[in-house]
């Protein structure tokens, strides 16, 4: 698998994580240690200001009916992946300001809009598409519609990007030319 990790300036990516394949990490995004991001079925593009916490896994799965060239998995800005969550998706588009709570699982064929919350330990395996601002919680997957998007975690991001370098080895941003506006252009291409 071709290693092609692009880290934009302003991103905080710990060294102690598994990144495989064609991955772009937008500026302002924080990737904690022990995160697994595997782009085996196509590129993964993570936009700005996401938080990806420990032990979370994002996999762009290979699938049989894959197009050529493979479509990227685009993850919008301000998404929060809490500890131990897992996102498996063959392709597609994850909106902005979603929260994937601890130990949640989002399987293939789940389309996620913006401002959604996947509750702790909720296993979304059934093919479905979540409209914007859906909140899912509990073992019976109760759901409701929130009035507005989840507030962004800018304070937390700010704190993390200050503190992380003190305690962890970081991967250096390796893309300098284009400014953080790049991911959104990528998104526009998708």
């Amino acid at each position: 698998m071709a290693q092609n990790i692009k880290i934009l300036p302003g991103a905080t990516v710990c060294e102690d994580c598994t990144l495989e394949g064609d991955i772009t990490i937008g500026g302002g995004t924080v990737v904690h240690p022990r995160v697994t991001i595997i782009a085996e079925g196509g590129p993964i593009i993570i936009a700005e200001y996401c938080i990806i916490e420990e032990y979370s896994t994002i996999i762009h799965k290979k699938s049989d009916k894959q197009e050529n060239p493979p479509k990227p998995l685009f993850i919008g800005a301000h998404n929060v992946f809490e500890v131990g969550c897992k996102l498996e998706s063959p392709f597609g588009h994850i909106g902005e300001s979603n929260v994937f709570e601890c130990k949640s699982y989002v399987g293939v064929d789940v389309k996620i809009g913006s401002g959604c919350v996947i509750g702790a330990a909720c296993q979304l395996t059934v093919p479905q598409s979540l409209p914007d601002n859906t909140v899912i919680w509990g073992s019976e997957h109760h759901n409701r519609e929130a009035l507005e998007k989840q507030p962004s975690q800018l304070l937390q991001l700010d704190f993390l990007s200050k503190v992380m370098p003190n305690y962890h080895r970081l991967r250096k941003p390796n893309l300098h030319k284009r400014q953080p506006s790049r991911p959104s252009q990528e998104g526009a291409k998708v």
Binding site: V117, G119, T134, V135, W137, G138, H142, N143, R144, E145, A146, L147, E148, Q150
Partner: protein
């Protein structure tokens, strides 16, 4: 032995006949009987909020309808709501000018938010509050005015009825009496006299009755709009049954009408033996404490039986059974194993013994007893259950008396077991004893049926209740208890 998630393998027979694990049983030191939650009297001790752990006196709790004044539950998922602060720019009146420039700092405003389902009080349009606790708008019950009218009306009617009955009785009495009062002579009742004199009637009841307007039926019934079936429905906007019933007064049908629910209080209970009215448990007053002032739990007073292991039970065969018996008391315990049917006989012994013991008690006590006697018998008759004793498998009871040492916390650190083993004693360690027993099963036992054996334990018990002044109470008793052991199912 009891488990949270597994079936109870060892169950004791309570004095009321219920089968319970030892952790659910109590031991009344005054009756020397096992009691369980079913045959004791529960009482509300104190009210508290389980979220903020604040005590609330019961009169205040009654006024606040058993709800905490500072904690709220989420109306959407019933999790506790948290108060969150935001900085809101105080909107300044442009006319106010510069006089309040220093006031222009962001003001802290609070709203309620649920960490589970992310519901917030802003979702339903409740304005943010300037104070962190309380002050949330309360919704009045839409029907309370009408209910109050109805209450007035029916109370007035009840009052009137009572008055009429009284009047009738008074009349009857007066006619029989020797003396004729003025009102009787003139045929005037008090109310009539007052009426004639133009005074307001004694009760305001008649006005409540006169002013009452009964409900008016209408031919118009609220119909669904003509195009109701054409509308798209979003189930997320309609509340579930649980959400509606969380506030019985309003029962909102639309998600937009959900309001935070003040958190219901919890109570601490004390429990009382119904036979002798002594407390079995009494919790500490402090809501944060999980300790008890009185706790007469069975596993502090009775030998505890645990199954170490057993061979599978087969029809017509003998299988080995290893039991561990421990003595939780601080006195040495003599123990005899008996067949379960032995119990009935010993129990009668027991009752006579307790009777003897009861006799020298103070007179008031016995008086009280005799007063309560009627109630107690009806009560116990209703509740008494005959436990089903297993007959197919039996334990071969060894004819020995065993002694169990008292509990000694220091001995826990003592490693080597004492080796006075015999054919039935496997090992012995401080207050614990492992027994090797044989279970013989009837050849007629069907495969797949539950295999159970029963066993009675006769044990010596030293009562540590300080003896009352007058009576020289026995301190040592011989008590019997029956345990039911669950040995899985009968195998081939």
């Amino acid at each position: 032995m009891a488990y949270l998630t597994q079936p109870d393998f060892v169950r004791y027979v309570c004095s009321c006949g219920q089968l319970k694990p030892i952790t659910n049983l109590y031991f009344c030191r005054h009756c020397l009987k096992i009691r369980c939650g079913f045959c004791i009297c529960h009482e509300v001790d104190s009210h508290y909020c389980a979220n903020c752990l604040e005590n609330m006196p019961s009169s205040e709790a009654r006024l606040k309808k058993n709800r905490c004044s500072s904690c709220f539950d989420c109306p959407s998922c019933f999790h506790t709501l948290s108060t969150r602060a935001t900085f809101a720019q105080t909107r300044q009146d442009p006319a106010a000018g510069d006089a309040k420039v220093e006031n222009k700092q962001a003001k802290k405003m609070y709203y309620l938010s649920c960490f589970n389902c992310r519901w917030t009080s802003r979702d339903v349009g409740i304005p943010d509050q300037p104070v962190a606790s309380g002050g949330w708008p309360e919704r009045p019950n839409p029907f309370s005015a009408r209910i109050n009218q109805l209450l007035d009306y029916y109370k007035a009617i009840a009052q009137q009825e009572k008055q009429e009955k009284l009047d009738r009785e008074r009349k009857k009495f007066a006619i029989r009496g020797k003396y004729i009062t003025l009102t009787d002579k003139t045929g005037l009742t008090g109310a009539m006299a007052r009426n004639i004199a133009g005074l307001p009637s004694s009760e305001s009841s008649s006005s409540a009755i006169a002013n009452f307007v009964p409900s008016v039926a209408s031919a118009e019934v609220e119909e669904l709009p003509e195009d109701y079936h054409l509308r798209e429905i979003n189930l997320k906007q309609v509340t579930t049954m649980a959400q509606r019933l969380a506030s019985p007064e309003w029962q909102p049908a639309s998600v937009a009408r959900l309001h935070p629910v003040a958190r219901p209080l919890s109570v601490k209970r004390s429990q009382r033996c119904r036979a002798c009215d002594h407390n079995l448990t009494k919790p500490e007053y402090n809501p944060g404490s999980i300790k008890f002032k009185i706790e007469l739990l069975a596993f502090y007073h009775m030998p505890e039986v645990k199954i170490i292991s057993h061979e599978s039970v087969k029809p017509g065969q003998q299988s080995a059974l290893l039991l561990k018996v421990s003595n939780p008391t601080s006195h040495e315990m003599a123990l005899r194993l008996l067949p379960p049917d032995h119990q009935a006989e010993t129990e009668t012994d027991e009752t006579t013994e307790t009777h003897e013991k009861n006799e020298p008690k103070s007179i008031e006590k016995s008086l009280e007893k005799s007063l309560n006697l009627e109630k107690d018998t009806t009560w116990s008759k209703v509740i008494e259950r005959k436990p089903q004793m297993p007959a197919l498998s039996q334990i071969c009871i060894p004819e020995v008396t065993l002694t169990l040492a008292q509990r000694d916390d220091a001995a826990e650190y003592d490693d080597d077991p004492q080796h006075d083993t015999s054919d039935i004693i496997l090992w012995r360690k401080s207050n614990k004893l492992a027994l090797r027993l044989k279970v013989s099963t009837d050849p007629s036992a069907e495969v797949g049926q539950p295999a159970q054996v029963a066993l009675s334990l006769q044990y010596s018990y030293r009562n540590t209740v300080p003896p009352s002044a007058q009576s020289a109470q026995h301190r040592d008793h011989t008590l019997t208890t029956t345990v039911l052991l669950d040995l899985g199912t009968v195998c081939e």
